[in-house]
């Protein structure tokens, strides 16, 4: 009710702001299409993930006959080149083109930038990839939701793995940017509390090309575990070069998000035995996932990656919620999604938390093994499933 009154006031005041005027006009006229603005990385460090997200979203749309609220769905895809500045420009342009929601991005820096615009312009924003914990904080943005993993849950699984394997001495290598540094510092603190000695910690620039000096330092250390807080090309290069001196034979290599089928394909044989948090996996056995995997294979002739699965899951969930509201009012979608529960998600049960707009879900922890066709040559096997309360803190008021 309060929100409704505020919105009406907003409309009066909005006459002053041209942009808001456009937004209101777009909302008032009965739209002939449900337009989604997809801002993902199709190039740059995380370029590999954007294309897969697009594929996942397309399946979600196809499975509902390409329509929501009786209108055809149109997705306008934009490439943010894995950089926040293009993400901002392209999101702004998409909003001026009258999109009903923004989907994306891949890198957390881009998603946070988009989140701020979405909040200002009151456009719902769905995140299915970026894992920075700052995206879903209590009393954060009203318009941004994340249905995928947080880095927090992945670092908890990495810590739990460290303890279970009884690792004594860990060497950490971190991609030098805020989210991974925060994550590493958390891990370091908790691991030290648990009696693990941190024998080395290096911060390599994001997009680093050569890790051989760092690999050499680890090889000469007495570490029995190598914790990698990085992902994408960084993780692929690091694990591949660690394999060139057989580092993985004598030490456990693990990290919050350092391996999935896509990354393992770039690493090759050295990826076998590498442990990592898994966002989504095609092997999760439930009816919703079997149906999705089959549809995906039929359309693209390959198994869905974690980026594709998470994108599908989030978009399918969001569109179902929009459909249920029976309304074109964005505020109603947001209110409905805040308390939505999806029992039949492809990863089991997911429940959106109203306090921080993060979906509670199981945490998957896996290891790379040699795959058997039709699985890729290097495939993740789920080694452990963590229940939601093991990987999420309770919401603090």
């Amino acid at each position: 009710m309060v929100a409704g009154i505020k919105a009406r006031h907003g409309r009066l005041l909005g006459a002053l702001a041209v942009s808001l005027l456009f937004a209101t006009a777009a909302q008032a006229a009965d739209p002939d299409k449900f337009k989604i603005g997809g801002v993902v990385s199709l190039s740059g460090t995380y370029g590999i993930f954007g294309e897969d997200m697009r594929k996942g979203v397309e399946i979600a749309i196809e499975q509902r006959g390409g329509k929501v609220l009786g209108k055809p769905i149109q997705v306008i895809w934009e490439d943010d080149e894995t950089k926040p500045q293009p993400a901002v420009q392209k999101t702004t342009r998409l909003i001026s083109e009258g999109v009903q929601m923004i989907f994306g991005a891949v890198s957390s820096a881009s998603s946070i930038a988009i989140m701020n615009i979405a909040k200002q312009r009151k456009i719902p924003h769905l995140v299915t990839m970026s894992a920075d914990d700052k995206i879903t904080v209590p009393n954060g943005s009203r318009y941004t939701f994340r249905t995928s993993n947080t880095l927090g849950m992945e670092q908890r699984m990495a810590l739990s793995f460290t303890k279970e394997q009884k690792l004594k001495r860990v060497y950490g290598v971190t991609a030098d940017y805020q989210a991974t540094r925060d994550s590493w510092e958390w891990y370091r603190r908790e691991a030290e509390k648990a009696g693990v000695e941190i024998v080395g910690a290096d911060f390599a620039p994001l997009g680093n090309r050569d890790y051989s000096s760092i690999v050499d330092k680890i090889a000469r250390s007495n570490a029995d575990g190598v914790a990698l807080f990085m992902t994408g090309s960084d993780a692929v290069t690091m694990v591949k070069q660690a394999g060139q001196v057989d580092l993985g034979k004598t030490r456990k290599i693990f990290g919050p998000v350092i391996a999935d089928e896509t990354m393992a394909a770039g690493v090759g044989p050295a990826s076998i035995g590498v442990y990592s948090g898994v966002r989504y996996h095609f092997s999760v056995d439930n009816p919703a996932n079997r149906k999705f995997v089959e549809a995906f294979r039929k359309k693209y002739n390959e198994l869905p990656s974690s980026a594709a699965g998470e994108a599908y899951d989030g978009m399918a969930w969001w569109l179902d919620v929009v459909e249920q509201t029976g309304s074109w009012d964005k505020e109603k979608w947001v209110a409905a999604f805040e308390n939505s529960v999806r029992d039949n998600s492809v990863e089991g049960r997911k429940a959106m938390r109203a306090c921080d707009h993060q979906a509670m879900q199981d945490g998957l922890w896996g290891v790379v093994e040699k795959g058997v066709a039709p699985a890729p040559a290097y495939t993740m096997k789920i080694a452990k499933v963590f229940p939601p309360n093991a990987v999420f803190d309770a919401c603090q008021p």
Binding site: S43, I48, F203, N208, S213, T237, G266, V267
Partner: protein
Amino acid sequence: MSTLIIGLSLGMLLFLLASGLTLIFGMLGVINFAHGALYMLGAYIAFDIGRHTGSFVAGLIGATVLVAVAGALIERLALRPLYNRPHFYQLILTFGVILVISELVKIVWGLGYQESTMPEALAGTVELFGSTIPVYRLFVIGFGALVSGGLFLLIEKSTFGMLVRAASSDGEMVRLLGLPVSSVRMAVFALGSGLAGLAGAIAAPLFPIELGMATNTIIDCFIVVILGGLGNIRGAVAASLLIGLVRAIGYSYMPSWVDILTFALLIATLLTRPQGLFFRATRSA
């Protein structure tokens, strides 16, 4: 000591990539932004030939030759009409070439990472100075030294080299003497491109093969070209090794400062010796 070996291998890889760039820059005056894209293309071609034939050497030769041919085509079809125009035309053109090559790679090989394994003979490791060093890294050092020697002889001692140097200092005069300046230019561009392809093939087993593989490396290459002096092969070798060592030492002691160290070296050079650390005043005339 192992830092030294890693530094040398980083430097030699960089040299292989930068040599083609400095050659084209120095002899033709063209700033070839697409050099990194040609390097990436070389890596993909070597990977694909290696996958189908099982031969590393076939990949190496195939990548060099095919990328050289691509370079010759780029020069003949796109660059040649622009030699008499201002430099920024060439910048825009070579930038466009990057987009074309990236799209082609996307269409042929897709967006995913590809992985190329080392040839069996070079796949092992050796113990040196208390560190485990991949044999392939030593091979890179040796191969880089061979290529630098070969290039030096070609440019400084051969008739072709003399022609190239003459055409670069006074193309009009060489043309009036009845020598084929256009063909020489095309050959230089093809040679430089072929070197990029060769560097890609050599780098392929060390790094993931992906669309973005050139972005960070190419910046280092431009630094090498500036430090070494334009078109100066000996300068390029020295500058590459210098950068390689700075990076290896940086990674060993303060990884988060590596980029800053590299750029500090560049800035210091530009302030004190803008013509390049290894530029010899007697060289050009």
